[in-house]
């Protein structure tokens, strides 16, 4: 089903907001868009199959996503590709939530050519937890997972050649983690290879 323009529950955008600019009191913000449960034939089948494995399946701003248990992720991805024809893995990426117990959000964005539909599969994993690689399912995941490893330090089991892709090999630290400072650099690597005492 083509992505419907806007989720129905949102207030109609035409409603005149107060004129922009320096209105004295900012009016009470209309309730922001809220994720609504997403139930489609596919989700029903998957829930039947995995039950609690699929934590939640919602639509937010018209984009369907489901949060899944790490244990069943690779199996689910395989099913999504073979049965549900999601033959194009758009992106594999991660988001770091240091304050949460399961620190990382691992996200696969999939698209199906036959059904012209896009979904996101999310799973939450702790630091150091390993996830089976998606390379056997989609060849494009090779470099995408290497970049996630390079930037976040998440290891993927079964990846043919898991090593850094953007940063030099000997670099220590994973920049996109929240605890990695914006101007921080691997001083030891910089001195060893560039012969300058600091990167700044």
């Amino acid at each position: 089903m083509p992505e419907e323009p806007k989720s129905p529950t949102l207030p109609p955008s035409g409603e005149p907001k107060s004129t922009a600019g320096h209105a004295p009191a900012v009016p009470a913000k209309p309730a922001g868009p809220v994720p609504i449960p997403w139930d489609s034939a596919m989700v029903g089948k998957l829930k039947g199959q995995y039950g609690s494995g699929i934590r939640e399946a919602n639509t937010y701003l018209g984009q369907n996503y489901m949060v899944v248990e790490p244990s069943i992720v690779s199996e689910l991805l395989q099913i999504l590709r073979d049965r549900e024809q999601f033959d194009y893995c758009v992106d594999v990426t991660a988001v770091h939530y240091p304050q949460r117990e399961k620190q990382f959000d691992l996200i696969w964005i999939l698209y199906s050519f036959p059904r012209n539909e896009r979904i996101r599969v999310k799973t939450m994993i702790a630091d150091g937890e390993r996830v089976p690689s998606a390379v056997p399912i989609w060849a494009t995941a090779n470099w995408l997972e290497r970049e996630v490893f390079d930037m976040f330090g998440i290891r993927f089991d079964g990846h043919p050649d898991l090593k850094r892709i953007l940063l030099p090999d000997g670099w220590k630290g994973h920049p996109l983690r929240k605890d990695y400072g914006i101007i921080q650099q691997d001083q030891e690597w910089v001195q060893a290879n560039l012969g300058i005492e600091s990167g700044q």
């Binding site: 964005i109 090779n142 470099w143 030099p168 990167g199």
Partner: protein
């Protein structure tokens, strides 16, 4: 913090073996010291009478034909390529890390610096993603202006691609023709938003500037000026025997491989997949225009060339329709001075000249995005290089890198 040679002191890559055919291959120093090449196993082929050992050649990062700072390690048997390994990251500026320390509007200009050849479409992708996050809609006039400028930018990007691609294969003249015509587009950009390359033409919620007084006249003059010029490029190359010989059947990628490798844009369409985001998931007023999506038959360099040439013509069609039907009205939606998008995440992608350019933005309700992930088409297309080049000759590697139309600013981000 730039990149340099990998960690250990001793140079891991033996630049080039001392002589071409060292009969006995005295010291296998190429084998152990290249753990960097772990997946390119350096086995000796079955011993023939005149055995030749593999030759590891470094192409780049300062090579005339790699569009930017790309280093390709080629494992050659004589002239034939046995395997390639792309070493990238020389132009890595950490755009995604910077995004987490900038507000939404401050990050807008950074986006132009990624694919500096098609800066306008980068901006369009980002602005639309944030608008979706804020759940606001750009007014119709702004959407039309966005379509016109993005299609002009697609034309300019394809022209630059054609010039450099032909130069790599040896034809010097198209470069000057394409740059002459591209100049007209850059003039329009300069008159509209003051910049030629990294234009920062759009704002979240619409466009910053109303179109300058003679905008429609310039665009229409351009629309009449360019079609015969495109025929000039075709005249030079399309039926040129040597061009056909250098591009037909070179760098072939099958439809299944293309989908499995996640390749998008003209490279995917040349392999026969009729998929264009402007048609599949229309954004920014593309649904109002009719245009065809050109596809190729057997996914070789020549098909990618003809797909892009046809796309140039289709872009002209879109611009003509857009300029004729451009509505009046405001060019900027109501956008709060301090943007605080509600907590949530959104993925929005557009059809950039190179392929599907996607933005995955996570917002935690503050003025700064919590996480911005850019899905770069060149990065994913470059991954298909190894698949397309295995078994080809060195000269074909140059042609295939050219036809993939990669820009290293986008690959490395």
């Amino acid at each position: 913090m730039g990149a340099g040679q990998p960690g250990d002191r001793e140079r891991p890559i033996n630049m080039t073996d001392r002589t071409i055919t060292d009969p006995k291959g005295d010291d296998p120093k190429t084998a152990d010291s290249t753990r960097f090449l772990s997946h390119l196993e350096l086995d000796q082929p079955d011993k023939t009478f005149l055995d030749s050992n593999e030759l590891v050649i470094n192409m780049g990062p300062q090579h005339p034909a790699t569009h930017g700072v790309l280093r390709v390690i080629l494992k050659l048997d004589g002239e034939q390529v046995l395997g390639t390994e792309c070493v990238i990251g020389y132009l890595h500026r950490g755009v995604e890390k910077i995004a987490e320390h900038r507000t939404y509007t401050m990050f807008n200009p950074y986006v132009d610096r990624m694919d500096y050849v098609a800066a306008v479409s980068n901006g369009l992708g980002y602005c639309e993603a944030v608008e979706k996050l804020l759940n606001i809609e750009a007014p119709p006039r702004a959407r039309y202006i966005r379509v016109i400028l993005t299609e002009l930018n697609r034309l300019a990007s394809h022209q630059l691609w054609l010039g450099t691609h032909a130069l790599d294969i040896g034809a010097m003249t198209p470069l000057f023709y394409t740059f002459r015509d591209r100049e007209e587009i850059l003039k329009i950009f300069e008159k509209y938003c003051g910049a030629r390359l990294t234009t920062h033409a759009f704002r979240i919620g619409g466009c910053q500037y109303e179109t300058y007084e003679g905008f429609e006249r310039d665009v229409i003059k351009f629309l009449d000026f360019v079609p015969p010029k495109i025929d000039e490029y075709e005249e030079l190359l399309t039926t040129n025997r040597i061009w056909l010989e250098r591009t037909k059947g070179v760098g072939v990628i099958s439809k299944a491989d293309a989908i499995a490798l996640g390749v998008t844009g003209p490279v995917l369409r040349a392999s026969g997949v009729k998929w264009d985001l402007r048609k599949a998931q229309p954004y920014a007023a593309y649904s109002d225009f009719d245009f065809e999506v050109p596809i190729g038959a057997n996914g070789d360099t020549y098909d990618r060339y003809s797909v892009r040439m046809e796309e140039m013509r289709q872009s002209l069609r879109i611009i003509r329709q857009a300029v004729e039907k451009i509505p009046e009205g405001p060019i900027m939606a109501k956008v709060p001075k301090v943007m605080k998008p509600p907590v949530g995440e959104v993925y929005h992608s557009i059809e950039a000249p190179k392929g599907e350019l996607g933005y995955f933005i996570v917002s935690d309700g503050s003025t700064q995005p919590y996480r911005v992930r850019v899905r770069p088409p060149s990065f994913v297309n470059l991954q298909a290089l190894d698949n397309m080049v295995r078994g080809a000759l060195v000269a074909d590697v140059i042609a295939v890198i050219g036809t993939l139309d990669i820009v290293l600013g986008e690959v490395d981000r």
